[in-house]
Symmetry: D2
Subunit: 354 residues, 4 copies
């Protein structure tokens, strides 16, 4: 393939980020964009950038024989039907995470992708961050020996608005999902069991939707390695994105990125500016590299760096975390196949407590 023609479905914040990054890439043409709420402003946006087609119907892009691949950046509940339709139309797919809130539905989408023989990349952008990529490299090079423990700190600078909370699916599928994927990526092993606990300490709005805003999640990996993730919806000092992988021959940690290296010493203290504020600043480069890798996989025939299986594993871990909080025990991913049994145990436990 000499030139890759791409359409984007869903032109919210993340859709526009991908659009701007695609527009700067050689051998890539942004052929069309669609958004349910496409308006004059979007048309103007497209005109300024030379994007020829703007439509309200994502189907228009799927029906366009000139488009090779679509980016699915619309609401989560549209992901599965769009993936299935795109696969049937023979389009390669880049889909934002999560594929769905229900692993059974996600599996349907993956089946459609497999049958159609198209490529699917899932939007775990953090894998392309310069810091985390370096950790993965060092682990692969054996610099820390056999991994024993992966630790991830992942905290947002401030909680989302209440209407977002209402439909986010909960902290584990909305926020921790990135960390589940990161844990698998860094350590190169699949998650077997999850234990989660959490509290509402930041904003009572979370409690109103049965959600949590502060959580600690522990992981067991195939082979015995351990993991721990801590999340908060509000770190007042900014986006906190750190990891550590500890192993038999050493340890590697990454600290946050800062806007500069200035250190100021006064009669009070020695201080630095706060970390980069949020994901747009911290993962700006990662978004570019994520999309470039997708384009290269199509143009040059390489594999996609994050596939549907990866997407599903993170969703399963998130679901296991949710059950773990309800059951008060570690939950194996293998147990999720029998959700009736888990539900019965939960009812039994809740009856005992009542």
């Amino acid at each position: 393939m000499n030139s890759l023609h791409i359409g984007i479905i869903g032109m919210g914040r993340i859709g526009r980020i991908h659009a701007d990054n695609l527009l700067r890439m050689p051998r890539v043409r942004l052929a069309a964009v669609s958004d349910l709420y496409a308006d004059e402003a979007l048309s103007q946006w497209a005109t300024e950038r030379g994007v020829p087609v703007v439509t309200k119907r994502g189907e228009d892009l799927l029906e366009d024989p000139d488009i090779h691949a679509v980016f699915i950046c619309s609401h989560t509940d549209t992901h599965v039907p769009l993936i299935i339709a795109a696969a049937k139309a023979g389009k390669h797919i880049f889909c934002e995470k999560p594929i769905s809130l229900d692993p059974a539905r996600t599996k349907e989408a993956l089946d459609a992708v497999r049958e159609a023989g198209v490529k699917l990349q899932v939007g775990f952008n953090r894998r392309f961050d310069h810091n985390f990529e370096r950790v993965r490299e060092l682990v692969l090079e054996g610099r820390i020996g056999e991994p024993h423990l992966v630790k991830i700190t992942s905290r947002d600078p401030s909680p989302p608005p209440e209407d977002y909370i209402a439909k986010s699916g909960g902290i584990f599928i909305d926020m921790t999902i990135h960390d589940f994927d990161m844990a698998r990526f860094l350590i190169g092993r699949d998650i077997e069991e999850v234990y989660a606990h959490g509290s509402v300490l930041v904003d009572p709005a979370f409690a109103r939707y049965g959600d949590l805003d502060t959580a600690v999640v522990t992981l067991k990996f195939a082979g015995g390695a351990l993991g721990v993730i801590d999340n908060s919806r509000r770190a007042v000092y900014g986006y906190d994105q750190r990891v550590e992988v500890f192993g038999s021959e050493g340890s590697v940690t990454v600290a946050n990125d800062h806007p500069n290296t200035a250190e100021i010493s006064t009669s009070d203290s020695v201080s630095h500016d706060k970390p980069l504020h949020f994901f747009l600043e911290r993962y700006n480069e990662a978004y570019i590299r994520e999309v470039r890798r997708f384009a290269e996989s199509l143009l040059d025939g390489a594999g996609v760096p994050v596939d549907g299986f990866d997407g599903l594993q993170a969703e399963l871990a998130a679901l296991a975390a949710k059950w773990s909080v309800r059951l008060g025990r570690g939950v194996k991913l293998a147990e999720l196949d029998d959700s009736d049994r888990l539900a019965a145990e939960a009812r039994n436990k809740e009856a005992t407590l009542a």
Copy 2:
């Protein structure tokens, strides 16, 4: 009290550290030392330092009316009988951790102390470390607001010999106990529930004694704050002792101490010397301050900085962690009162798995 006369029971490594530190303190006199294996070498040690009495019998110290306080540095299984005897003899007591491997026995010792009206300090030396003290100060000053999460990394440079493993009581009571106490100290709240999981990744010897060498322990505190501890018996880069307390208004972390601040840049990398090797180097000053605070509490009538209740709480958390591993669920400290029920649940679970 103008001058404090102290006797030390148990002159192993830690007994001698305390001895050397006491010998340099004003208003303190090291009046006697005892050790079951007292020999010519110990007598010479004492002569060189002007310690007048060396004996094989700890009772000799308890019977000596001129001694105000004893340090109990002998094997763990002697702690409870010695505390009870010392309390009956009206001696103030400094006891190494843990008081015992069995909370019921520990409570007996604490009852004796209470009845006798003597003071008891438990040897959680890390509370007196310059880094951790500073974290506690900052938390108390409200610099990070309301604590939401405490994280502790605690890794030894190398595992103990197998005969030590055989009688250590397991990783939670032997190693994590310091971290349970540190968590309570930093956050100023009691632990309500513990979930622990672990693996044997460092040395198969641990498996032979039903023990673990790598563990992640999560905590729930009264009021909803969360905690997480990670332990390893072997960090090849040296003693790893870091903490973080994250709260509503910020976060404070402490890094390891290094022997110097030299940073060397070559064509390969930018590097520093490794952290201080082990507890003797890292907690050298902390041991001095721990003992000074004990002496001051007697000389000046202040309270002891770590008391029997603190010792018991850490032991209970360790026991809950042990049950948690067996039961695969979070265990509340309150559940430990009904160990029959826990044992029945464990048998039931093990039968189901069999």
Copy 3:
């Protein structure tokens, strides 16, 4: 002005960097490029980017009424005639540093610019670095009080090839010139006196051209503040670009930028990856911001951030440094007006030594 049409004269490495950055800017059109050695490859380069005109004659750009501004990126000895010609043609000018190797010639160029009423920006790209900009901000905000001392470390990863050394004009005008400008920028004062000493420690090629490869330069500023610059042509660990400004109320330092924050702890040491390799990596963003500021000054009528006076001051400091080495004493910039007297002193000193 709604749209700024730019031509670039000299399409070597730096010319192409500016070209690529200009091509991404809104409201800017790269209308033409010229290079004495323009060839097929350059034409192809231009075609791929949609640059309509490629020529061997810089004059073509100056004669083009559709071009508003030119970038002068050709060899140093062409700068002055090109500035004069461009100014006469009414073009605004961005000129790489130094304007010339001879302050008298530089003044002629500045006179032409003034008479023509065009704008001239000199290519001191480092002023636009995120770290140094932050230092300047902190100084301006008064965070360190009154500046007393500015320190600059500026070391290249490896020396240039010998043919470059032969015509570079020497370390002070070729390399330190950036640091003279940085010192003035950070401290907001003009340099009054310079003392320089140096050695040939890196590569004997420098000695063959009467040049130095390692130097320490001290500065006196108007008002009494002091400065010191250290330079080396080879830092094996990479580009070393650090500054410190120390003042009555504190100090601010900036460290080097690194490609990631990974810290790896092994049984040997704790290490990081080396700093960003050289100016292309370190000042990538600074080059973009430098050119954007030039474009904005024309499009929006703001002043240029680094003007001809700044360019001249740095050249004068470089010249004073050169005389200082020859005379073995501090040289005031004011003394440069009487170069005959300096030359006589030098001859006298050299005769005494002979």
Copy 4:
């Protein structure tokens, strides 16, 4: 020698520091102390520590056949006569820096020491600092290749009182002297030439005594390596003691020591506590090791780690710095032999300016 008997002459702040350190050393006995202003308080101090002799006359110590070595901690102008007298009395000598304010007088003292065959150690305590020792080790191991440049930052937290300024001998002999010695120590080469410039920016009191409070001093070493020292009498953030040695194969820097590693992140910034306040905190351990090395050189027959030649070299560099400021040029240490010529040049220069 099995036991070393020491007397201290001059029981001001530094005399008492050495006393307390000597009192804790095995094989060393503090036999006597003298102070011109010895009073009841000093007698009590001695009694509490078991020091048997307190006297107003330093001569008493020199006449005591039981004393092997004396520490000279009295005012600078007493150093030379005391060294000469002590040497004649066959006592080994530890003398605080500087030996004198006049190199000619210092040479007399060194001659007396040589003739008597006693040992003399000069009090350059900073050589024994853990950070600087590590730099020296790394340089000796060849980790940075051939040294090209040494940089020293040395700033006090606050200026001394005016009566101290009045008789200090000036910043170069009082403060920079430590840095001249450190430069020689780190790079292992002698200083050949010094250029100094400075200002009065901190406190006008310095100007009243013809002194400076802010200075930059550059050095040329035998073999071509360069050096630079910056000094300030007031760094509001505390004692600033950093060095860098840059060489053909790399660079080593040391940062300041801090009281703890706590890093606090808030909505404002990321901050640390300030560096250790002043020399008592920073060099506490260095003072102990300095004195231990002196004692070991006598007890075990090793050489002293800092001898009279080292003391003289630092004084000569200080004197060259003073002349450099007056003459406005670099001054070679070899020129100091002909002070008449320097004085004539100075008068000539001052006449020209007048």
